[in-house]
């Protein structure tokens, strides 16, 4: 296999050409993506909890869990566009 070869000089030039805020943006978006997984887990957990124990506030609790998930998706989209 022919792998493209980069000289040290090329790599250094590439690194120096990077914008620090672009790197920061990718870190922020990666963080929000991880948070999105957490929000999915929360929705799943709420469903499991409500399966184990049916309570009066069932509708409200489900609504908050889904609202939280959609908020995170919204923030992720906002981050992609705005940052």
């Amino acid at each position: 296999m022919n792998m493209p070869k980069f000289s040290f000089d090329q790599i250094l030039r590439f690194v120096l050409s990077l914008n620090i805020w672009d790197i920061a943006k990718s870190f922020v978006l990666f963080g929000i993506l991880l948070y999105l997984i957490f929000a999915f887990v929360v929705v799943r957990q709420v469903n499991l909890m409500l399966d184990s124990l049916e309570v009066e506030l069932e509708g409200l609790i489900k609504f908050i869990a889904w609202l939280h998930l959609f908020l995170v998706i919204g923030v992720l989209v906002f981050g992609f566009i705005y940052l």
Binding site: V28, I32, E56, I61, Y82
Partner: protein
């Protein structure tokens, strides 16, 4: 003259047909508690997964509301956090768009913190039915445990109310010892633990 018809309403027959009403174990245990109560007596709209058709929830207990004060104060501080940025410009070195994003993410984390703490309080319940006692635990979003014991298996109960706060707000721990191999069941920081013990004693009879 021969007796053609004998009335069934003889005094002896009436006496036999009247049975003495059974004294219900639930007599005097009246429904009590709201949607966010920590001490619910015979809740109408509560049901747990392993509940049998003939089983009725007599008590549904949560930690006393005072135990939530700590995380509520933390949540208030977290909500007020970004307001302090005017006085302490900790993120002033960031470009404007990153500052806004930081505040949004902060409030998202605050929402998650409040919701998780509330879920932890709301779903960690202790249930007393007319047949058994159950301890439902959701320690965090990934761990679930259910411990239970039949009322008949209960051998002893101990109530502990220690400390000024617990005495003042009348909450404490109730340890239920069982004859079974399963470990004891502990109702931790429940409101009015003596009353809980009395109700369980009544149900055991």
């Amino acid at each position: 003259m021969p007796v053609l018809y004998e009335s069934p309403t003889k005094p002896e027959l009436i006496k036999k047909s009247i049975k003495k009403p059974k004294v219900s174990k639930l007599e005097g245990i009246l429904p009590q508690g709201g949607k966010l109560s920590a001490f619910l007596v015979r809740p109408a709209k509560a049901h747990f997964q392993t509940q049998e058709p003939s089983e009725e929830i007599i008590l549904l207990l949560r930690r006393h509301w005072v135990t939530n004060v700590r995380w509520i104060l933390i949540a208030i501080l977290m909500l007020a956090g970004p307001l302090c940025l005017h006085s302490f410009p900790l993120i002033a070195f960031l470009p404007g768009r990153f500052q806004i994003m930081a505040v949004i993410i902060w409030y998202l984390l605050t929402t998650a913190f409040i919701f998780e703490q509330f879920l932890s309080w709301y779903f960690n319940v202790y249930i007393v039915t007319n047949k058994r006692v159950i301890d439902l635990d959701f320690y965090n979003i990934l761990y679930y445990n259910q411990a239970q014991a039949d009322l008949k298996e209960i051998t002893d109960m101990n109530v502990t109310v220690s400390g000024v706060g617990r005495l003042f707000f009348n909450y404490g721990d109730l340890v239920i010892e069982t004859a079974a191999e399963a470990p004891n069941i502990e109702f931790s920081r429940v409101p009015n633990p003596r009353k809980v013990m009395q109700i369980i004693e009544k149900l055991k009879l």
